[in-house]
Symmetry: C2
Subunit: 514 residues, 2 copies
């Protein structure tokens, strides 16, 4: 990877005698600009010309001594010499162009734009590419590569973003990796209704009040709470998990660390605090609301802050945050905790369906931190407990599949052919949904189980005394458990398995309407 | 209350013969404009002059036939006559001024502005007041009283707002109504620490991750869950309550009905949905975030919608919403339900303190709907159960106080001198907080119990078969129960009452750090 910067130094007066410049530039190139650059990664400068009070030059470099660092050194060096020799000072440095050249291993299938570049990346073959950064722009432009931006390594991240986008173009359409690990026997289909439709008809649930949300009346709530008790009493408590309570509001700083904010910003429910709590500031808003019976958006937009947080998408980010920078005692490993208080929201838009795919849901999230060995064993223990629940209590037709992302599998981080090696990665638990169609495709992911390596451990700087630690989590979606169960068993409690009836001997009476 | 409107009709050509006008106006005043106005509430018109193609007039009225309605009638009437007699049409009507005159029973202590008025209300004595509405304005002005605004009864609501604001000025500083109903015996102070400080020191809780939020580690969570079980098993289940699950997101439409949005807009955590879930629309946002490691607010503001909802402040609004427009069977009364899944947020700003006054909390909210008699009895039953919990299980020093708002008490809606009559109103439950100071003032409201009459029943159009129904609710704040308890008993489980130990025999081990 190489960089090139054209720059003009402006001098305090005209430089008439240019005879010494060649020597100075040679001196700079021989040592000053290569210091710290190793074999090939230093910088060098070429004098392009001197005209009046301007001195034009081109600085090129490898990765270590970047042009802007070389410029700092060179400016100081030249200022010393010019001052000593001619009493000329350097008034400023004006970057005219800044470019980077690097290899693209794959073709650009479709052109795309990236901030901080002066022009889009065009579709092209693999090979060496040169990109020009935007060094000047209109007033108000925020993506100008200033010297400050160079100091923050903006160009490196632009290049990484280009490479990632090209990579993504080549993964698109490959589908997700999916490999069956285990499946239950087929169960006779005794019910083939859409359980949400039937729950609506029987008054167990009410849709709303806002999009993708549901109000669960006593009957549906009783089923959800039974599912929760089963998860607690048959899985989490026997496995030695302790409960914690976390905020359902996740700050952007936390999501920046986990990658959620860059991964799925279009699925977040954003949260804005009021700009102030002062009643006087809200008085005009209240006047408008009371007089017009409409929310005065023109006032509201200035009375709330730009979001700095969103509603929980999963509980684990705040759980990891709670360990930030702390060192876990080896004796406390593996840490086994779970959270079930924080409500979760995801903006599903067109994908919503009944209580299976909702914008708001209730999940229990166990999180575990320990050595690879501890988590490998814990994962096996989880599978045993989950099998017990889904086979013996809920009597589901279900299956487990290894869904570790393609790139992870490809990168050899997990063995996809040898089950023994499958510690790091994600297992999905899927239930057959008879009302949707046949067994070829109609399965609902109702649960997962992951060991994530040290991704979050590193992101939140969590340490152990002497052990190397990993972490993992398992998402237990209570609405998903409920709809999987009801899709196969129907809404008539007489048809429910005995194991489940132990947890819900009878439905509550509900509320009667006329 | 009277209204006056000056209006100019523009004619299709000059009216040279004005001899018939006096007769027409007399005819309009004698019948057309008073129709439907009863004795004193009709309208009348005075012709102010005719000049070229303009005809100026002043319409005055009482409450029933408003000037804009009178104008419609008059325009049609005059258009008929002018057309027949002179072939002149009416091209338009231009409102020049619009004013209302009404009595102010109390003085305006401090002047204030109100949208839709052409000038602020000045400080003044009680008596008759005339306000001018804004009928013209600059481009972009949203509070102009157009004919459409007149049809939406904007002036009436402006007048109501003026009267309310004057009323509020007279209640300010009166303090809240508070009357002791019952108090426990004084308990010896055995602990006087701030329980939040001590929980932080002992690693039971972590502050954050965002303002006014807390992460509860296993020890604090175990105390919270014990409190929850006590509320369920000692109060709600014995009283026959059924559980429901509600969204923690409350739409503005729901809060407009309950009054929360106009009551406390500065305390709401506002929620914005993404403008779109389309990944292409978010691509530039993701580019910026990955390149700069900062959230690009300049892009975010256009990628999210203006809030149309906020996070639950209390669960009851969505619960009432779930009954909207439905008719309850008399046999189902009293409806007794509770919600404990929805997380609550309130923006406390400078008022935050420890886990006692937080921006996010967990409450159980029982809601009940039934006849006045049923709710009177239920309220008594609640008091018996709550006394049992606070006296026999938590062994608190606590008290109950009648805190029905002053204006309600004054309006004779509740008898404040006769306990028997105190069905409608609110009771606060307060616990003494030794660490804060002496018993004169240092009490924490940890719970309340209300019967609200038909306020929400009407707002959500909830009906019963033949009974007249009321509703009520009780807010059980689990963080408040916990801090009240720990403030008096301390963090050492050995010092905790036996009744509580039944619900929490031992603390979980927690997590060890080095």
């Amino acid at each position: 990877m190489t960089f090139a910067m054209k720059v003009t130094l402006s001098l305090s007066k005209e430089l008439e005698d240019t005879s010494k410049l060649a020597g100075w530039f040679e001196e700079a190139n021989s040592d000053l600009l290569t210091r710290g650059g190793g074999e090939d990664e230093g910088a060098s400068v070429v004098l392009d010309g001197v005209s009046g009070q301007s001195m034009d030059m081109t600085i090129t470099s490898g990765r270590r001594v970047r042009p802007h660092h070389a410029l700092q050194r060179l400016r100081k060096f030249l200022a010393g010499n010019l001052g000593m020799e001619y009493k000329i000072g350097i008034r400023g440095a004006d970057v005219l162009t800044y470019s980077a050249t690097f290899p693209l291993e794959k073709a650009v299938k479709t052109g795309f734009s990236v901030p901080f570049l002066s022009s889009p990346i065009e579709a092209r073959d693999a090979g060496e590419v040169t990109v020009e950064f935007k060094v000047t722009g209109d007033e108000g432009d925020l993506d100008i590569v200033t010297l400050e931006a160079l100091n923050q390594n903006i160009p490196d991240r632009v290049i990484k973003r280009i490479l990632d986008k090209v990579e993504e173009q080549h993964y698109e359409g490959k589908g997700e990796f999916w490999e069956l690990v285990w499946k239950s026997e087929e169960k006779e289909v005794v019910y083939s209704g859409d359980p949400t439709d039937d729950m609506v008809k029987q008054g167990w649930v009410v849709q709303g009040p806002t999009k993708g949300k549901w109000f669960l009346r006593p009957q549906a709530t009783a089923v959800m709470r039974a599912m929760e008790r089963i998860a607690l009493e048959e899985v989490l408590i026997p496995l030695g998990f302790q409960e914690v309570i976390s905020s359902h509001i996740v700050g952007f700083d936390v999501w920046k660390k986990t990658g959620h904010l860059e991964g799925m910003p279009g699925e977040i429910y954003y949260v804005s605090e009021p700009a102030t709590r002062d009643p006087a500031a809200w008085e005009e808003f209240r006047d408008w609301l009371k007089i017009t019976k409409e929310v005065p958006d023109h006032l509201l937009k200035d009375l709330i802050q730009i979001p700095r947080a969103g509603i929980s998408y999963a509980q684990c980010p705040n759980i990891y945050w709670s360990f930030s920078g702390r060192t876990l005692a080896d004796t406390t490993l593996p840490v086994k905790i779970f959270e079930r208080a924080a409500n979760s929201n995801r903006y599903e838009s067109g994908g919503r369906h009944g209580l299976e795919r909702v914008d708001e849901f209730h999940r229990i999230e166990p999180v575990y931190i320990g050595t690879a060995e501890q988590l490998g064993k814990l994962k096996d223990d989880f599978v045993v407990r989950y099998k017990h629940v889904f086979n013996d209590i809920l009597e589901l037709e279900w299956r487990m599949a290894w869904v570790t992302p393609f790139y992870m599998a490809q990168a050899g981080q997990v063995g996809v052919e040898d089950n023994e090696e499958k510690v790091k990665g994600t297992m999905d638990f899927e239930a057959y949904m008879p009302y949707r169609g046949d067994r070829d495709s109609e399965w609902l992911e109702f649960q997962n189980l992951s060991v994530l390596g040290d991704k979050y451990i590193q992101a939140f700087n969590i340490k152990a005394q002497k052990e190397t630690i990993w972490s993992g989590c398992s998402g237990i979606g209570l609405e998903r458990w409920m709809t999987s169960f009801l899709s196969q068993k129907g809404l008539d409690p007489d048809d429910w398995p005995e194991g489940f009836k132990k947890y819900l001997p009878r439905l509550p009476p509900g509320i009667d309407f006329v």
